[in-house]
Amino acid sequence: MSTIIRVGMAEYKAAKSPATLITLGLGSCVGVVLYDRMNKIGGLAHIMLPDSTLSSNKNFNPGKFADTAIDALIEDMLKLGINRSNLVSKIAGGAQMFKIKSENNIMQIGKRNVEAVRAKLNQLNIKLIAEDVEGNYGRTIEFFCETGELTIKTIGHGVRII
């Protein structure tokens, strides 16, 4: 039996095979998986917002933001013994749950989260090998550190493995 590690909103966790990392009910948030296939070490971050520079509090939890959570997750994974150059990524989430016109772009937070995550991965030279993003529905995701598979479960939109 493998351990199941639950990652809550604004949290990030790293684990070794045979552990499974899960996060429940992703809406506009994005689940970012990083994986070192050689060492079978995985990490999952549940990010809420794109940009930490907009935080009014300078002493923030890095897990909340796309631009800080990925760095923090890599730090934790290095402690478990990854080789940084092995890292690849899979992402899921970033939905727009409600359709409402708004004067500013707060409604599109999901899309902006996805864009910020892609930009950060690109900056760190981490290859994004699979994604299941946007749309208007929630997702529960499970990452298996043993196989590197990411399972995406939805209500009414099927189950996918990427």
Binding site: A10, G25, G27, S56, M97, F98, K99, I100, G138
Partner: protein, 212 residues
């Protein structure tokens, strides 16, 4: 942190809004509606979806954006089963017995959200003399965690907790529950308190620690 006086004032605002909304809902359904005493909750993001049965629970969520002198969000969460019971009540009254039409059901639920949200905000506006507008409602039927994360995520720029004024509407006979969450934007909370004459004590800058 907010003082007891401020919290009480916000509960009272919630009470007046909910009272008006309950009357409107009662007229719409021709059923007796009771409301629970509003609660003001300041809780970590992770715990919010537990309020409505856990992040994976299938629920109907109706979202409305408040704008004007203050800004904020309204989210009404109804369990899937209760949402079905509600649409049955609503659609029977217009003579439509075929409740399998998802479009009709969704439209009925959205309208219900509209009535509740608008009457709540109308009472608030009258009480505070603030000019408030409510957006067209939007409905989603999905996992509670996914539905609730959007209005909360904006609080992430301020800290690690969400601020909610919460009320529950209960329909008498069938025990249908509607979970009503009003989530004012941070700046708007102070304006709301000022508008009803509860002076906000000048908290020093350390208040900006996210403990909203």
């Amino acid at each position: 942190m907010y003082t007891d006086l401020e919290i009480d004032a916000l509960k009272e605002i919630g009470n007046i809004g909910a009272g008006n909304a309950a009357t409107a809902l009662s007229m719409m359904l021709s059923k007796k509606i009771t409301i629970k005493v509003p609660q003001v909750r300041i809780i970590p993001f992770n715990e919010v979806s537990e309020l409505v049965g856990g992040p994976e629970k299938l629920v109907a969520g109706i979202f409305l954006r408040i704008s004007g002198d203050i800004d904020g969000n309204i989210l009404i969460i109804i369990s899937e089963q209760d949402a079905r019971s509600l649409t049955k009540i609503l659609l029977n009254y217009i003579g439509d017995t075929n409740c399998d039409l998802p479009e009709m059901e969704e439209s009925a639920l959205t309208e219900l959200g509209n009535i509740i949200g608008s009457s709540y905000i109308a009472a608030l506006s009258e009480l505070t003399r603030l000019s408030l507008k409510v957006s067209v409602p939007s409905l989603a039927i999905d996992m509670a965690g996914a539905i609730i994360s959007f209005p909360l995520s904006l609080y992430g720029y301020l800290g690690d907790t969400a601020f909610l004024i919460e009320t529950e509407f209960v329909e008498g006979l069938a025990g249908i529950k509607l979970h009503y969450l009003m989530i004012p934007d941070d700046k708007s909370l102070k304006q709301l308190l000022k508008a009803i004459g509860v002076s906000t004590f000048e908290h020093n800058n350390s208040r900006r620690d996210g403990g909203i």
